[in-house]
């Protein structure tokens, strides 16, 4: 993770186009200025960043399912539950699956576990639109490479 850049996903460990599921790993850094304020003497990964991590995981699944033709943007977060603390240095296993694929939108169910223990989960709605510009598309291509996006797994293969 690079929290200051909102890079919350380290690597894709599984992407199943048929089952419409994804699994990723993300290592919470040992040190970050975020932990200095959240909280002094009791550093915790903020819940909003856990939600963002679930959203980014879901987003990569949706990008895969649309063959990099649509960019998912966060629309709504429902039933988000923070079930346990996430602390510096922990390895997150984040999974997401499709709840519904609509026309121009999609809903996912995502969860984060640490060492097999469920830490949080949410149902997330995304609007899916054409990439607004080549710069963002190029950035997402580079990011896909960085996190090991398996291009051979695209939806039209």
């Amino acid at each position: 993770m690079q929290l200051e850049y909102f890079h919350l996903i380290d690597r894709i460990t599984d992407l199943d186009i048929g089952a419409k599921t994804i699994a990723v790993e993300a290592q919470v850094p040992e040190r970050s200025s975020i932990f200095e304020g959240h909280f002094p003497g009791h550093p915790l990964m903020p819940g909003v960043l856990l939600i963002e991590a679930m959203a980014q995981t879901s987003g990569w699944l949706l990008i895969a399912l649309t063959n990099f033709e649509r960019m998912p943007f966060l629309g709504a977060v429902k039933e988000a539950k923070m079930r346990g603390f996430v602390t510096p240095g922990q390895l997150l296993n984040i999974t997401a699956g499709i709840v519904h694929e609509g026309s121009g939108f999609a809903m996912t169910a995502a969860k984060i576990s640490v060492g097999g223990e469920l830490k949080c989960n949410a149902t997330i709605t995304f609007r899916q639109v054409a990439f607004p510009n080549p710069e963002l598309r190029g950035y997402m291509d580079a990011m896909a490479k960085r996190i090991g996006f398996p291009h051979q797994a695209s939806a039209d293969d």
């Binding site: 629309g75 709504a76 519904h100 609509g102 026309s103 121009g104």
Partner: protein
């Protein structure tokens, strides 16, 4: 057996917390009921699930933006219900 409109009205009432008796076939989802685009995604989700279809929201939006259709054709509830009936019929054809 409830009509398509009745089902749609119930979905809207439950999804958007709008009193059921204020929703009529002539109601425009956006202009009269004040449903915004994000809330309409929840309604579309519920309709897709209830009727086993996929409301073509992107196509409809494009048609409206291109001036080829009016929002009334898709978002006045009697018209929305008719579109749903057409999609259900097409699925079964």
């Amino acid at each position: 057996m409830s009509t398509t409109f009745d089902q749609v009205a119930t979905i809207i009432a439950e999804t958007c917390d709008i009193p059921r008796d204020t929703i009529t076939p002539e109601s425009h989802a956006i202009d009269d009921l004040g449903i915004d685009s994000l809330d309409f995604l929840d309604i579309a989700f519920a309709i897709d699930k209830a009727f086993g279809i996929k409301l073509p929201l992107e196509k409809w939006t494009q048609e409206v933006n291109d001036g080829k259709a009016t929002t009334e054709q898709y978002f006045v509830l009697k018209n929305l219900s008719a579109r749903i009936d057409e999609l259900v019929a097409a699925k079964g054809a």
